[in-house]
């Protein structure tokens, strides 16, 4: 199998990141459970993180001046921290919503509809 004999490049990482991103977007659009929508957001953030890390990787970059270097990893670290904060707040909101509506279905949240 020729695929295993070749070294991986930047494009491989970008394709995996794109697949994760598209999966997350579809998950956000399709799920009716609010926690499922949150899981879609986590997938999207992971796809973006993978691109950051791949563009800054020591193994994949040439001696290009455009390579991110350690900046990519620092950005990915900030994304991870912000994702943790976002998950905490969103879960608190979801629990409040469940306590007041006795359901977690996001289609039922239509009080603000004009």
């Amino acid at each position: 199998m020729n695929l295993l004999g070749q070294p991986v490049g930047l494009v491989h990482y970008l394709v995996v990141g794109a697949v994760l991103f598209a999966c997350g977007v579809v998950c956000m659009a399709v799920k009716r459970n609010a926690v499922g929508v949150l899981m879609g957001i986590e997938l999207v953030l992971n796809g973006a993180n993978l691109n950051f890390v791949a563009l800054g990787s020591r193994f994949l970059r040439a001696d290009s001046p455009l390579a991110l270097g350690l900046d990519g990893q620092a950005m990915a670290l900030f994304v991870i921290v912000l994702a943790a904060a976002e998950a905490a707040v969103a879960l608190a909101i979801a629990l409040n919503y469940y306590n007041t509506h006795a359901t977690i279905d996001v289609d039922e949240a239509d009080q603000l509809k004009g």
Binding site: V8, L14, V35, V53, A62, A84
Partner: protein, 208 residues
């Protein structure tokens, strides 16, 4: 035929990450979705390790897999009742989401393939990647404002542009994290005090 082990583990982790991400999308049971998400995020941390980001891979395992997903599982357990564990989406919405997702994936893939290859000459020749240097030290020093990995290849007399670290974003994100955690604790606690004062009111009055 010689197997390139770096590529072998890359393909293993990539197939795991993409496959379990698809399983998250196509599963209807919220508990199984949480489990597939754990496996997908773990595989992504393996990809981080393979790209040479060892500290970031460890942080991904500790914060995401060990923290965020546990938080999500607690959310599932606190909100999962039998009728709402399996919530079905109608077929029309599935078709619409699949079309939009396929279009988005096509655009992203086209962009990804148009990026010029960045492989260094040694990697393009098929050599194994060099031994990993730990990135925790330079990353931690960058957070306090010293870019040691960039100081090596420039003389001290040169201008210090590009040497700025991440001290200010680090402080901002720290304060942000504190505010967010206090806010989340307040949001999650306030309703419980209310419902303790008026027990079991929301469940009966809730419109279905």
């Amino acid at each position: 035929m010689a197997v390139h082990w770096h590529s072998f583990f890359f393909w293993l982790m990539a197939i795991m990450a993409c496959g379990f991400a698809l399983a998250v999308v196509f599963s209807n049971n919220i508990v199984r979705m949480a489990f597939y998400l754990i496996l997908s995020l773990g595989a992504v941390s393996g990809l981080f390790f393979l790209a040479g980001a060892d500290f970031l891979g460890a942080m991904q395992l500790m914060i995401y897999v060990g923290g965020t997903v546990v938080l999500l599982v607690f959310g599932v357990m606190l909100t999962a009742r039998r009728p709402w564990v399996d919530m079905q989406t109608s077929g029309g919405q599935w078709v619409l989401a699949a079309v939009v997702g396929a279009l988005l994936l096509a655009v992203l893939l086209q962009t990804a393939f148009s990026v010029p290859p960045w492989q260094s000459s040694a990697a393009a020749a098929g050599a194994l990647p060099p031994a990993a240097e730990p990135t925790a030290g330079p990353l931690g020093l960058a957070m306090v404002g010293v870019r040691v990995e960039r100081m090596a290849d420039r003389p001290a007399a040169e201008s210090s542009s590009g040497l700025a670290g991440y001290l200010l974003p680090f402080e901002i994100v720290s304060v942000h994290l504190v505010v967010v955690l206090v806010g989340a604790a307040y949001l999650a606690r306030a309703r419980r005090r209310l419902s303790a004062a008026a027990p079991a009111r929301p469940l009966e009055e809730a419109p279905q």
